[in-house]
């Protein structure tokens, strides 16, 4: 995974709460078996509406999404993160993220930065008043800066460390293979197994 330290790009104000993953990427796009190429699927239903923020020329190349509370609720589809990344987003800002979405984002190097809702409101106003404004997100300092406005964000320490270092989770876990072996030997015999299959 590519390390993430700071990122600067156009901020996109998405004035919506409860942006569920069905809105981020509708189920019909989940039939693909590849891991890339989901940019066309991002917010597919909303992009048909010409007033939708990403249809505004000034926001089209946005890379920092500023959304309302409860972003990424619903389905566990990691495709939501892939679609945001494939479109070009590197950061999503919200006052509250759904747990699974936040986890998926962390695995894929998309920064889910949690800001106070009052700060989100300030960012929205700024980005709406001056479309195309650049936003800088500094993971080292945990700040979001746009024009004269600088606000803090939170992200858990472990995710921050992994993003800064660009570390792969599976590789990290593999370092503890012997500990996993030891644990497995202690599992009780009555625990279920799928094999050999038993008839119903």
């Amino acid at each position: 995974m590519e390390p993430f330290t700071t990122h600067t790009g156009v901020g996109v104000p998405l004035r919506r709460s409860n942006v569920d993953t069905d809105q981020i990427i509708p189920a019909v796009y989940l039939k693909r078996v590849a891991r890339t190429g989901f940019e066309d699927a991002l917010f597919a239903a909303w992009r048909g509406d010409e007033t939708f923020v990403l249809n505004n020329e000034a926001f089209r190349d946005g890379s920092v999404l500023v959304a309302g509370p409860d972003f990424g609720t619903g389905s566990s589809r990691e495709h939501a993160v892939w679609a945001l990344k494939d479109y070009g987003f590197r950061v999503v800002i919200s006052s509250r993220f759904a747990d699974i979405f936040r986890g998926n984002a962390g695995k894929q190097g998309l920064l889910a930065a949690e800001c106070e809702q009052s700060d989100v409101e300030l960012l929205w106003k700024l980005l709406e008043n001056e479309p195309g404004t650049q936003v800088t997100v500094d993971l080292q300092e945990r700040t979001v800066q746009a024009k004269d406005l600088t606000v803090p964000f939170s992200v858990d320490d472990y995710t921050r460390w992994r993003l800064l270092e660009g570390l792969d989770d599976i590789g990290l876990t593999m370092r503890h293979a012997e500990t996993i072996d030891t644990y497995e030997k202690s599992r009780p015999g009555f625990k279920p197994a799928t094999l050999p299959a038993r008839a119903g």
């Binding site: 709460s17 409860n18 069905d22 078996v33 566990s76 986890g103 320490d157 599976i170 009780p188 119903g200």
Partner: protein, 467 residues
Amino acid sequence: MGKTLAEKVWEGHIVRRGEGHEPDLLYIDLHLVHEVTSPQAFEGLRLAGRGVRRPDLTIATEDHNVPTTGTDLPIADPVSRTQVDTLRRNCEEFGIRLHPMGDAEQGIVHVVGPQLGLTQPGTTVVCGDSHTSTHGAFGALAFGIGTSEVEHVLATQTLPLRPFKTMAINVDGALRPGVTSKDIILAVIAKIGTGGGQGYVLEYRGEAIRQLSMEARMTICNMSIEAGARAGMIAPDETTFEYLKGRPHAPEGADWDAAVEYWKTLRTDEDAEFDAEVTLNADELTPFVTWGTNPGQGLPLGENIPDPEQIADESERYATEKALDYMGLQGGTPLREVAIDTVFLGSCTNGRLEDLRAAAQVLDGRKVAPEVRMLVVPGSMKVRLQAESEGLHEVFTAAGAEWRSAGCSMCLGMNPDQLSPGERSASTSNRNFEGRQGKGGRTHLVSPLVAAATAVRGTLSSPEDLD
């Protein structure tokens, strides 16, 4: 201080306690796999030259894409077919047990696991699907994961995880006739909101929960995710043991006795403390339906649709206006007057035998309204067979409903079972998001009893509205 049920299961699965800011490494007892969230995980394994650590703790089924008619034919949609074929190839290559379309054990992954007896108390269960919370009904710690985590579990049978907070949902009293566990969970979500459970494992407790069957408990735990929670749990008891005994993968003989002895310890200690508590009175509940575009936008069926003009809070008013606009509804309208085009009975929320029985009882001797189509989609082929052995399919078809094969179907419309733009459904599934059941489709979440009564009257109804 004592421990909660969730904490006990967590503690029992720590492979390695995290140091500093590291999360704990947790062992996973059962990994459920389906065709949608796994192809990129298997591809990742191949690219890294990794194998599946424990195929014997992994099981796959085809559910999201499968058509519910003509299941003996190849899948017509080439993209869906490719995804299903990809799962078959991956399972073959990595030695994973698969129940494909046409197999007697095929069905929705969250119906199949419990029915095989694989879901057991005190286990950790994961799947690349948010409704994995279903399995918490057995006192398992069960939660949905993303595709990167699917790959992680395939490779290591573990996951690095941070402990969750715990929330008690106390449901006291007893449900009145005609009120179901679906109504309990819709009321819980309306009460705490779609973000109310964020960061928590919910434990459902109290007299009303103890009285529920395993199937009804699964309905409740299934929708924990709709309140934003990672998981929902119910302490195992005699009802749980009774359900499991004799199932294909339940322990036998001395193993059974050892397992039950352990399972009996899986309850929250008297002196344990939850991080949060919510209490509902089951006696006060009535059938509950949603009117908006998230599962928290629900009300008792007897009420009127919220009027945005009566809402003081600006952001809530805006969200309500947006939802009503999408739903094509007028604030102030009685919910009972909302006319429905399609009724969907099925899904991992309400596609089990008991759900079909409840709906069939309402439909017996009655007809689905002429302008309404009703789809009945059993959660698994086993459920379908059992229903047929009881003659339920005859009740449904005599009433004018369509009797289908098993799968996720119209819950998310990845197969041909979809709503058209503007079409309105009463659905026993779990999500009423915009476009969830088909682009432009409008969804009202309901219980099986409300679904059946609605099919007869053509407007949102409960059985007590029928003659």
